[in-house]
Amino acid sequence: MRKSVVYLFVSVFFLFTSCEYQLGENFVEMENHQVDSVTTSVDFYGFIHDLENEIYVVKHSGNVVCEIYPLPGFEVEKQIIRLGELEWESDGIRCDFVLDVDRIPNGSYELSCEIFARTNSGTVAGQVGTEHYVEKRSWPLKVDARNGSDKLLPYEINEEGHPVIFWEVDESERNGFDYYTIEYSIENYTYIRRSYDFDQRSFVDEKYTGGGGTYEVYIYFKDETHRPYSLGKAVLVANMSNLENTPEK
């Protein structure tokens, strides 16, 4: 009898610990949609867009705006724009930033925009606001900036009435030299000539018509990361003839 009683109570103990009510589950079958893209387009305003070569070009510092157009049902939470070592971040569909070309050397880069978007497809994650998608888009970008100069170049008008522009350049630049550009600009017109002779130190513009304008000489280098710079500029007044630029020759 005592053994029976012991067995009874041991069995009761195991029954007590095992007879727990098991709860059910309200599991909803939902399709896990694979999302390829969360945006219709991403546009940049402030860069030169070379449509032929499908590349953005940056020639000088300035304000840039990135505008995202999301697909219906998606809300952009954050965007991160990267260019080389530079990075900008914004909450929402628009990012305004200033690109300072002094902070990034000339060269070819990848401009990227990483988009963090939220959606609600009716899942538990979507309803509590944690259903996120991330999309990254990228484009080639070339930084092709030049350094300006306030230096005035000497010039003279020769016997034929053509302006002769003079410039100086340091001998140390010879090894990396690629070409000079002599840029003539007046109102909305710019005319660029090139010279591949490092030793050239003057230029005669036989097409000058006497209407004034500005000549600016730039030096370019073979290494594209070596930023071109201006050697100076000469400002001509209209109807000048047989005159020399007095500051220096």
């Binding site: 009683v5 109570f9 029954l15 709860l23 939902m30 538990v124 994650a125 996120h132």
Partner: protein, 236 residues
């Protein structure tokens, strides 16, 4: 608790051991239903951060387990009882991205005394047929657990879980009708049907401990049991 123990001692002393015929040890397993009306309302009214949550469990009836130790003399049978019952409720939703669930787990431990009066005793071959009426009373100690769980598969850091324990004490009365089938001199098969009524219900404190919500845990409902009674004869 002290009052219950005092009551038990009075019963036993009134029985007068000198007249007791048998010491009984009994184990029954059965099924019971539970009112739990305020608990059900709590589930129904609770707002979760998801709109498609459904109540999957509403404190349904479940297995009960009962042990009794008593003294039987003539037509009378009295003693103490210990009973265990449990049920639960749940509201929530789950899908491939995660789940959001609210659960209430209730366990009831009954401690009390019973008195059983045998109506008759009929011989059926080698077996005996003994119908009886019984009244049990005592306390139901509720031990409950409230669990809220939000889990996001892709963002575990956004997941959230909170647990809260609660307790309460009810006083119950349980009239029962049963039949014992004596299988042999020392063992009988017991079948019974009764109704437990929680006459006094104490509020349990659910929700935020800083601003708790009082909710009654009502274990009232029918009880059906079957088990074995073991006799240890005291008189030779």
């Amino acid at each position: 608790m002290k009052r219950i123990l005092l009551f038990i001692c009075l019963v036993l002393s009134a029985v007068r051991f000198g007249q007791a015929q048998s010491l009984t040890v009994e184990y029954n397993i059965g099924h019971g239903s539970y009112q739990m009306s305020e608990m059900k309302d709590r589930l129904k009214d609770l707002a979760l951060p998801v709109v498609n949550a459904q109540t999957t469990d509403k404190f349904p009836g479940y297995v009960t387990q009962d042990t009794r130790i008593g003294i039987e003399w003539k037509r009378n049978h009295a003693g103490v009882l210990f009973n265990y019952m449990n049920t639960a409720g749940k509201k929530g939703v789950a899908d491939y991205s995660g789940h959001c669930n609210y659960e209430l787990h209730n366990k009831g431990y009954k401690l009390g005394a019973f008195y059983r009066f045998r109506l008759t005793k009929e011989e059926l071959g080698i077996f005996t047929f003994e119908p009886y009426v019984q009244l049990s009373s005592g306390v139901v100690l509720t031990r409950g657990k409230e669990l809220y769980s939000l889990f996001i598969e892709s963002a575990p850091e956004s997941s959230n879980q909170s647990k809260n324990k609660y307790s309460g004490t009810n006083i119950f009365l349980e009239p029962t009708f049963g039949i014992k089938f004596g299988l042999c001199r020392n063992i009988a098969l017991n079948l019974s049907v009764g109704y437990e009524w929680d006459a006094v219900k104490e509020d349990c404190q659910l929700g935020n401990p800083k601003s708790p919500l009082p909710v009654e845990v009502d274990w009232s409902g029918y009880r059906a049991q079957a088990g074995l009674v073991f006799y240890l004869n005291l008189k030779k």
